[in-house]
């Protein structure tokens, strides 16, 4: 903005409106979140008369019981295994494919790329029944891979596009020079492309991780054993068991979304970058 903009009249109704509006939206967003956090510190009786205020008596027992139960940690462990598998497999397969699409010219290249990007046009849910039968026939039902592999397949399209766009910005002269000097494509990929692409790999990895961590439908369809359930499935069952003991459910929700919020605060740069990378240039 120009310098004349910065000198404002002492009272500007627009500024007041802006402050009121932003405060109202902030309250709209914060109240449910804070109520969940604080609700976990209340007894059921207090929750009934005071659902949204500060707890009069801090009930640490709700959180402690969950943290000292094996159940919570088992759910997180399962989610972590599935998400990590998904992220690693996505990054490996997508970066190799993206590298080929970015740097190797071959007949049918753009056709194959369009083929991959078809995956963006419809949700996984449309084909989830045949997918279930396929996973069953492959003997992967009720395994971590039975969830992770379809998740990788569905995250490939977006990942390949984001990676390819970044890879293409690596000067082609660099590759040519390396090839003339006897370096192979594969070595170039391993020792030049990947190290240079850490930011985009982190972005794609973070987005894939969050998607997999939050996923509900695929694990719901593919897993039958409680011991393998990731947390979104586990928390739905927990809610079913303790149907109206909201103080326990709220504590459980708080503890399960805590990892996401921590990851978001740590990796917000990558999450927002991944978001805007596709949209602005799109």
């Amino acid at each position: 903005m120009s310098s004349t903009e910065t000198t404002r009249a002492p009272f500007d109704p627009a500024v007041l409106f802006k402050a009121v509006f932003l405060t109202a939206v902030a309250i709209f967003v914060l109240v449910p979140l804070l109520a969940t956090l604080l609700g976990g510190f209340k007894s059921l009786g207090e929750l009934r008369v005071n659902p949204f205020g500060w707890p009069t008596h801090w009930e640490w027992q709700n959180y402690a019981d969950i943290l000292f139960s094996g159940r919570y940690w088992q759910l997180l462990r399962n989610s972590l295994i599935i998400s990590t598998l998904t992220v690693i497999l996505t990054l490996i397969t997508a970066s190799m494919a993206a590298f080929t699409f970015a740097h190797v010219r071959f007949y049918g290249s753009s056709m194959l790329l369009s083929y991959l990007t078809l995956g963006l046009l419809f949700p996984a849910a449309t084909a989830v029944l045949p997918l279930f039968i396929k996973v069953r026939d492959l003997g992967l039902l009720d395994t971590y891979f039975g969830v992770a592999l379809p998740q990788v397949a569905f995250s490939l399209a977006m990942s390949v596009l984001l990676l390819r766009r970044f890879f293409r910005d690596i000067p082609h002269e660099l590759l040519e020079a390396a090839l003339v000097d006897g370096c192979s494509y594969i070595k170039f990929f391993r020792y030049v492309t990947l190290p240079l692409s850490r930011p985009i790999l982190a972005t794609v990895g973070t987005i894939t991780f969050v998607n997999s961590w939050n996923a509900y439908l695929l694990p719901l369809v593919m897993l039958n054993t409680d011991a393998l359930y990731p947390w979104p499935l586990g928390i739905m069952i927990y809610q079913g068991e303790y149907s109206s003991e909201w103080h326990l459910i709220l504590a459980f929700i708080t503890l399960t979304i805590l990892p996401t919020i921590i990851l978001f605060l740590l990796a917000q740069k990558h999450i927002v970058a991944g978001l805007t990378a596709g949209a602005v240039k799109g």
């Binding site: 967003v29 590298f99 439908l217």
Partner: protein
Amino acid sequence: MARRIAIVSAMGAADETVPQAAVRGPSWDGRFTVLILFLPPALLLFTLFVVLPIGEAAWYSGFNWNGFGRPTNWIGFDNYRFVLETRAFWLALRNNGLIIAVSLAVQLPLALTLALMLAERFRGAVALRMLFFMPYILAEIATGLIFSFVYDGDYGLVASIWRTFGAEAPHLLASTDTAMLAVLIVIVWKYFGFHMMLFIAALQSLDKSLVEAARIDGATRSQALRHVVIPLLYPTIRLSVFFAIVGSLQLFDLVMPLTRGGPADSSNTMVSFLYNNGISRMRVGYGSAIGVILFVICVTFAFTYKRWFMRDE
């Protein structure tokens, strides 16, 4: 999440080509090794778990089949007829329409207003941006559970507001009149921050000299906004609308903890209708028919929208 983001750029992908420099250069041998090592893993996974199941859905939708053994009971297009004759299907379609309407009428103006306010630098702007974006990264399951507490007629926010007026609190999620409305509010809560971020990103990459030029030429703040900034945002607005519609067609996780599509199918979306009627009862043929219908809607919409509204991008 970013799956939705890349969609639009995805559809333009075929237009781009590998830089010219790639034509010259290395021997075919090196390239061949890369091709047979680097492409198959991705293509195989994608074909096996994304493309084939869609084709199989079309095939299975011709059978009356519970998923065990092989499908043998061929019934032609009857499954499609059954779907179209189900009242719940049309309710689900209507609800998807409602979600889109609310996204356009409430969520988009809200997101745009907030973006215009928060794109400028001032103390707290970044913190507010992050706060508003936060609901978007929370799991839909967790969001749904949080709001089923908020709406709870005995314990929640709604209950306490009603009680302060001395009235008996309604169970919003248990009534066919209010369940879908309640779901719509949660959708706005969860997704407006995503759209806001889209607009902020666009505003930050906008050429500020255009706005300054308009101001120097005597345009007022609101004139500059209406005639310069907003038109420059049209591509992003179209993108935001696109995501709102695609997102509505995929919505499922959020509905399950809130209402499971009920009561009496009043808050089903297409996907929760598919889940409740096809998947949970293992009616493979019937469920596949719903899936195919949803697939056709998604693909037709994506291409039509791209052709009509996003030609120039």
